[in-house]
Amino acid sequence: MTFKNETEPENLEKNGQHKFLLNMGPQHPSTHGVLRLVLEMDGEYVTGIDPVIGYGHRMHEKIAEVRPAQSFLPNTARMDYVCALPYNHGYVSLLEQMTGIEVPERAEYIRVITVELNRLASHLLWLGTFLLDLGAFTPILYCFDDREHILDILESLTGSRLTYSFHRVGGVYKDIDDSFIEKSREFMKRLEKRFNVYDKLVTGNIIFRKRAEGVGIVTSDIARRYGITGPNLRGSGISYDVRKAFPYSVYDKFDFEIPVGKNGDCLDRYNVRINEMKQSLRILSQAFDMIPEGDIRAKVPKKLKIPKGQSSFSVEAARGELCYYMVSDGTDVPYRLKARVPSYGNLSALAEICEGMLLADLVAVMGSFDLVIPEIDR
């Protein structure tokens, strides 16, 4: 991209130099974090996008190579801070898979319960900020109200509100009690009613539909070529959810569906996430009914030696497939750890999806993609 300061409008048009560069971010409200986009503009239309990432890079993968595997756990929660518990879950599951530690069933249920509550909190935050990006201020107040309840519930169990380190190798940190179950059930009842409010407020709203329908279409081919996962992939009609495709933990015991879209536009991604929240409620209520009594943590040696070899473990985070890949040399310190984060693949497709659209629509697409930048930077 080059920019030459020609002044004659006719000449500019002729030479294709009427285009200009527009800098968006790293401090821009709709980039949701420190993401910078260098946009090549033709008037109000975006003709080229170059995302600049790495502002929040902390080199988690190197940190993992210099400390015992168990003490890396808090770092996993700091990649995607909006939905941290799946990151805990994936990491401890990988270590259990490699060391062959059996997890008590009650602990797996508690893991699923906390992860699904976290997924709800993450989707509620997305709903509020997505609509804020589109210019609707009211919904975020409703969403934050609901999300606050979840954070309170999780805080009472885990002690933290955002960057949880709750799961442990071999189980979880703390058992749930009756008051936790009662509070959660109360909240679930409340949220079910609130979906009607969101429906009335947003789904049928003509301004919202004009901004979302047919905008930012992700075809299934684009999704495949870029490795888009999660609700963004399911919005394009591909029914792929790690919880169903490769059931882990106790997900195979629950009856739930994978919502999919048809066209892959912003509206489909919106619908998929709203329906996914309803499915999370279904999983939660089944989990509370079925949770068995028993231990919450298996006996694990303090110094956890990981057998030689390589292994990977995938879980479904709120934004898509999170995959940890580890190589071990037989000590308690991993030789190599790779975290495949969902937003990375999702953002890399932005340039192809958004070429030729209005700048305002680009903001809508980014909002519908639910990007968390620190997870991309790692």
Binding site: G227, K308, S311, F313, D329, S348
Partner: protein
């Protein structure tokens, strides 16, 4: 197309493979020669696979590039490993799976592996000022061999 046929097709390409294993969570894994990785990726792309990630591991004498693919329809995962040669160069697959562009750029700056044919060779995550930083390469004498890291025997 079922997974068995895809694997047969891949086996033809990765004829030089040294070992083929089945691991938990991954249905099929193989070693592939660098010159065959493009054909390998094309077969998977034609069979509706998508690229999950590209990464590398520093083992002696030269780093290994690891590719993981997944097929949403047949629910199968395939992992390929390419052992780099002395020139630490591997052909790019970013024109087959466009998402590989970012992963390859990341591996390039973290491990100093050159991806042949990759158009965009700017740094992605690290600062542009020091292209030879390669932070994920082990310090001298710290890198282990394939056997010591379990690459050769599982």
């Amino acid at each position: 197309m079922d997974t068995g046929k895809v694997i047969k097709e891949i086996e033809k390409i990765s004829a030089k493979s040294e070992s083929i294993h089945i691991l938990p969570g991954v249905e099929y894994e193989c070693n592939t020669a660098a010159e065959n990785i493009r054909e390998f990726a094309s077969v998977l792309y034609k069979n509706n696979y998508m690229l999950l990630f590209v990464t590398a591991v520093h083992i002696e004498p030269y780093p290994v590039v690891v590719y993981q693919f997944v097929c949403p329809e047949t629910k199968s995962r395939i992992r390929a490993r390419v052992f780099c040669g002395e020139n630490k160069s591997v052909p790019t697959i970013s024109d087959i799976f466009n998402g590989a562009n970012w992963y390859e750029r990341e591996v390039m700056e973290f491990f100093g592996i050159d991806f042949n044919g990759l158009e965009d060779k700017r740094t992605l995550i690290l600062d542009e000022s020091d292209k030879n930083l390669n932070p994920l390469l082990k310090k001298e004498g710290k890198a282990l061999s394939a056997d010591e890291t379990g690459f050769g025997n599982n």
